[in-house]
């Protein structure tokens, strides 16, 4: 196994172009599990840690550009006020030790359906900034996940950053685990209200081959909410929203939970997170 250690972003892209089979590694919290358990032995590892550019985040035109090397801990600490949904999801990732090393970009690279950062990224219409020696492109998050542990990156591409718009309304993330810390999601859900465009964003985790949105639920709710009057959401509307979210999922029975439970839990989480978000929006 080769170990490639570029120190600049340009060198990293060149290395990836030359060795497209190389697995990029940042915090290592995902890649190392595969290596230690001998599940996959990459021909080469491309260590992005020395690339200083990746460790920065910046803010521009209401968007945050989060470098691929920004840890969950830093994200919670430094960006939690502007990205509450993503911060809430980040604080449930693994353990404090793992949050010190793991990154959102790593979560995207692994593209596990159970990754915690996916639902809030979906709910807030994030963009994945992918780059290769051929150039840079922005992949809408909804087009990024292709299958179980498969994403839309080309073999020569690396994730440079994740771009997430500032929260323009309340955001909530909720995740089921069968103990009170350090769990892989049984299923998870994120909601984001976008009052500026009277829209609703959603994200579902661990309940389909890929993280996904619930478009029908979003459309339904956006039309039902009393954006101007800010009156309470009728129970029936919240219930219907939950149903539509659950219907958008296609979970299976596995060792962490059953299909039926996931469907049920998604409906409950959708209803509850909507309640919290709307309460916050109403300012009460």
């Amino acid at each position: 196994m080769d170990f490639l250690r570029p120190t600049t972003w340009a060198d990293a892209l060149a290395a990836k172009a030359e060795r497209p089979e190389a697995t990029p590694i940042q915090g290592g919290t995902d890649v190392m599990v595969e290596i230690n358990l001998d599940k996959g032995r990459p021909a080469a590892l491309l260590d992005l840690n020395p690339v200083a550019e990746l460790r920065d985040w910046s803010s521009e035109d209401g968007w945050l550009r989060i470098g691929a090397g920004v840890s969950y801990t830093r994200l919670i600490d430094e960006l939690g006020d502007r990205l509450p949904g993503l911060a809430q999801a980040s604080r449930t990732v693994g353990s404090p030790q793992i949050r010190n090393r793991g990154t959102v970009a790593g979560n995207l690279g692994a593209a596990s359906p159970a990754g915690d950062s996916h639902p809030p990224l979906l709910a807030s219409d994030a963009l994945v900034e992918a780059e290769s020696v051929r150039g840079s492109r922005l992949i809408p998050i909804g087009e990024f996940y292709l299958g179980v542990k498969r994403n839309a990156l080309e073999p020569d591409e690396l994730i440079r950053a994740v771009r997430v718009p500032y929260a323009d309304g309340p955001q909530y993330f909720s995740k089921i685990g069968t103990r009170n810390a350090m769990v892989i999601a049984v299923c998870s859900f994120a909601v984001a209200l976008h009052p500026s465009r009277r829209g609703v964003g959603t994200g579902i985790g661990s309940a389909a081959p890929t993280p996904r949105r619930a478009p029908e639920a979003e459309e339904f709710l956006a039309g039902e909410l009393d954006w101007d009057g800010r009156t309470a959401v009728p129970d029936e509307t919240a219930r219907r929203f939950g149903e539509l979210v659950a219907r958008a999922a296609s979970p299976i029975d596995d060792v962490r939970g059953t299909r039926d439970y996931r469907v049920h839990a998604l409906a409950v989480m959708a209803r509850r997170t909507l309640g919290w978000a709307w309460t916050e929006y109403r300012g009460i």
């Binding site: 358990l37 001998d38 809430q88 604080r91 449930t92 909530y172 993330f173 909720s174 995740k175 089921i176 685990g177 069968t178 103990r179 009170n180 810390a181 350090m182 769990v183 892989i184 049984v186 060792v255 962490r256 939970g257 059953t258 039926d260 439970y261 049920h264 839990a265 409950v268 989480m269 509850r272 309640g275 919290w276």
Partner: protein, 739 residues
């Protein structure tokens, strides 16, 4: 750094762990830390199938790999090819067939652990699959079921028959299940085998019982016992899982074959296949009572799945049967307890040992009965509680204090925790934010457990201690040598405290445990403080007696010792126990019984089925507190493992295959799952035991599980007849709860 101990710290004081400093500085050598220059690494090839014939094994590809020194199969076992705790029925390496997933088939020694693993993977085994027997009740009761074991699929059937009145005004009947729990110690199976010049082997291993390992290892190696010498290496937790052998024979075989030291360390996944688990249980209980809640009869059928090999299943069945009604007075009992063979993972010892499963069922029944009779859970237990003089289902009379009713009253009178908060950290689901309080209901539940202490049913249960007093640097010094395994329970403190108390000498050294002294028996059954403590006490008394004689003329201790050390070795046995009658189950099968009662307070998200245990309170009678700090630790630890069984811990097995052999999917409680505890520890001495003590490690593991399950039932109104309680069991139980 060092920890000052102050004045003589004898029995009853919180002597700090003598090995504590090493453990907080990283210097304590666990079995996985051992290292010798020139050593090789061993790896084990295990069966991926729960049931198959082995038609061929080709070790050629493995032997051809550079760095590989040896590849062994059952043909290379030098001596007896089978081992086992109670029956020698488990092959050292599979012979012509495999009976469970993970059964060892071949061994490799190589110069690097990864080489050894890859070589093991390169061995080609021709399996011919056959249908796995995975339903224990079918295995036991369906004559058409294939036989997993040549002697049939029932390991042991133990009836208990008392009385003949099996009708009552109030009858509650239910079926209960307990999932397969794992001990999940953090320090995986590991050790070092060193070939010796005399043709024998020196083994450094983490185990619970050095001498029973020696008894099993030597015949398989074709060696006399004295050529197989064992020394205890640092033990990273045990909880029953180290009572059976794991890598001991394998490493020794490789060492003898290669002439080099062999180290074997299991990874976490291999560890899940490398030791026995707690028996999963299916139980049907029927309780009959008078309208005012006095028990009339108990009928029970208990099926414990022992998996592919015997291990300690017979004794587990004995416990489930003899303690199957719990610490309650009842005149009519009809119990049938069975242990079965299947192609599921082998099961054996785990903290609580057969009493845990039955306790979940009989305590659940007591709650049902309370409801049927309109009594509180505490009241019905008090009305039926045993006390000194009571007769157990086995006919054995409780001849020492057993103040269960008082313990329950004290428990119920303890203050309750305050109402729940909306702080995410305090809510079910924690910061994963599944609720801000919606759907959360509080529940309170009680559980009572009775556990036999020490080995039962006529077993010759003893321990040996060698105590020596000598002058070191002009000062009297005590050396205490036993073969008892310190597994974290704090036995070395207790031994040290006993020596200080008996001899009045502060300088005490605990000699490392090995087989150069007689057997201490197992660090299990909550027995070491009792039995090895008793042996140390007896040896100290013998030494003291000699010293007193030598000093009769008025000589000082130093003067007497200047002539040479004084050493005595003593064996200690507890009161004998007797077998259970094979037809009626009657007999004084236990030497000591210990009680613990728990109250659990939980917050349950009834819509999502998530649980936060808010507080656990316990009252336990330990006879005599030997070390308050360590004792509290034992109660906390036992309680935590009971919590795990109640809410999350289960090895999921489908078609004989384990689905979750990892710490990401076999969940044990975190620091956020284990709540603060409120304890009351009673000291009603058992006059038969040293210092009046009672074993303390296991009873809390029994009672915490049913207490938590009862609290969750109390919060949800659901029957919940299976542990661990899964979120599904609550959330999908019915829409009536939604809101």
């Amino acid at each position: 750094m060092s920890i000052a101990t102050g004045q003589v710290q004898g029995v009853g004081q919180s002597l700090l762990r003598p090995d504590g400093t090493l453990k907080v500085t990283g210097e304590f050598a666990y079995s996985s830390d051992l290292w010798l220059d020139g050593m090789l690494w061993g790896a084990t090839l295990r069966s991926p199938h729960p049931s198959a014939w082995i038609r061929s094994i080709d070790v050629g590809p493995a032997l051809a790999m550079p760095g590989v020194f040896a590849v062994l199969t059952h043909q290379d076992v030098p001596g007896v090819k089978f081992y086992g705790l109670e029956h020698k029925d488990q092959p050292v390496l599979a012979i012509d067939q495999v009976r469970y997933q993970g059964e060892p088939v071949a061994l490799v020694a190589a110069d690097h652990p990864e080489t050894a693993r890859r070589a093991a993977d390169a061995i080609v085994v021709g399996y011919e699959l056959r249908e796995a027997v995975t339903d224990p009740r079918q295995a036991a009761f369906d004559p058409a079921c294939p036989q997993v074991n040549p002697h049939g699929n029932v390991v042991r059937h133990q009836p208990v028959r008392v009385g003949d009145r099996f009708t009552a005004d109030v009858v509650v009947t239910a079926e209960y299940e307990v999932g397969m729990q794992d001990q999940a110690f953090l320090g995986p199976e590991s050790g070092l085998a060193v070939p010796a010049e005399d043709g024998g082997v020196d083994l450094y291993v983490a185990t619970q019982w050095l001498h029973v390992d020696q008894d099993q290892v030597a015949p398989c190696l074709g060696l006399p016992k004295e050529k197989v010498r064992l020394t205890l290496a640092g033990v990273g937790g045990a909880f029953g899982a180290r009572e059976d052998l794991s890598m001991q024979i394998h490493a020794s075989m490789l060492a003898l074959r290669t002439g080099k030291p062999i180290k074997i360390v299991y990874g976490r996944e291999e560890s899940f296949f490398g030791h026995v688990h707690r028996h999963p249980a299916w139980m049907r209980y029927e309780h009959g009572a008078t309208a005012d809640g006095m028990l009339v009869y108990v009928r029970a059928e208990i099926v414990l799945d022992g998996g592919a090999y015997t291990s300690s299943s017979p004794a587990v069945v004995g416990n489930a049967a003899s303690l199957g009604v719990g610490p309650y007075e009842v005149d009519n009992v009809w119990i049938d307890a069975y242990g079965t063979y299947t192609n599921n993972p082998p099961c054996g010892a785990m903290r609580g040992f057969g009493a845990v499963q039955a306790c979940f069922a009989y305590e659940s029944q007591m709650d049902r009965l309370a409801e049927a009779c309109g009594l509180s859970p505490v009241e019905i237990r008090i009305r039926n509680a045993v006390s000194q003089g009571s007769r157990l289902a086995t006919g054995q009379v409780v001849d020492t204090p057993a103040p269960l009713a008082g313990m329950l009253r004290e428990l119920a009178a303890m203050p309750l925790p305050g109402p729940g908060s909306t702080d995410l950290r305090a809510l079910p689901g924690g910061v994963a934010q599944t609720t801000h309080g919606e759907g959360v209901r509080r529940g309170i539940g009680y559980g009572v457990g009775i556990k036999n202490i020490c080995f039962s049913e006529g077993f010759d249960d003893y321990s040996t201690a060698r105590v020596r007093v000598e002058l070191l640097g002009g000062e009297p010094h005590v050396l205490v040598h036993t073969a008892a395994a310190e597994v974290g329970q704090g036995l070395i403190m207790v031994k040290s405290q006993i020596a200080r108390t008996e001899l009045g000498i502060d300088r005490v050294t605990i000699v490392p445990a090995d087989t150069t002294v007689g057997s201490a028996g197992s660090s299990s059954a909550s027995r070491q403080s009792y039995v090895t403590g008793g042996a140390v006490k007896a040896a100290c008394e013998a030494v003291r007696e000699r010293l007193d004689k030598l000093r009769a003329g008025g000589a000082s201790l130093a003067e007497v010792l200047a002539a040479g050390p004084v050493e005595e070795t003593r064996e200690y046995r507890h009161r004998p126990t007797f077998p259970m009658d094979p037809v009626t189950g009657q007999g004084d099968s236990h030497t000591q019984l210990a009680l613990c009662v728990h109250r659990a307070v939980v917050d349950v998200d009834v819509e999502l089925g998530l649980v936060k245990v808010v507080e656990l309170a316990a009252v336990q009678d330990v006879g005599r507190i030997m070390n308050p700090l360590a004792l509290e630790g034992q109660i906390h630890g036992g309680t935590a493992q009971g919590l795990g069984l109640a809410l999350m811990e289960e090895i999921q097995v489908r078609d004989g295959k384990v689905l979750n052999p990892s710490f990401t999917d076999y969940l044990i409680p975190t620091i956020l799952d284990m709540p603060p505890m409120r304890l009351s520890i009673l000291e009603n001495p058992d006059p038969h035991a040293p210092y009046g003590l009672r074993g303390a490690g296991e009873p809390p593991t029994l009672s915490s599980t049913p207490a938590i399950a009862a609290a969750v039932r109390n919060a949800t109104g659901l029957a919940l007849a299976r542990v661990p309680i899964r979120p599904d069991d609550i959330a999908l139980a019915g829409s009536a709860l939604a809101g």
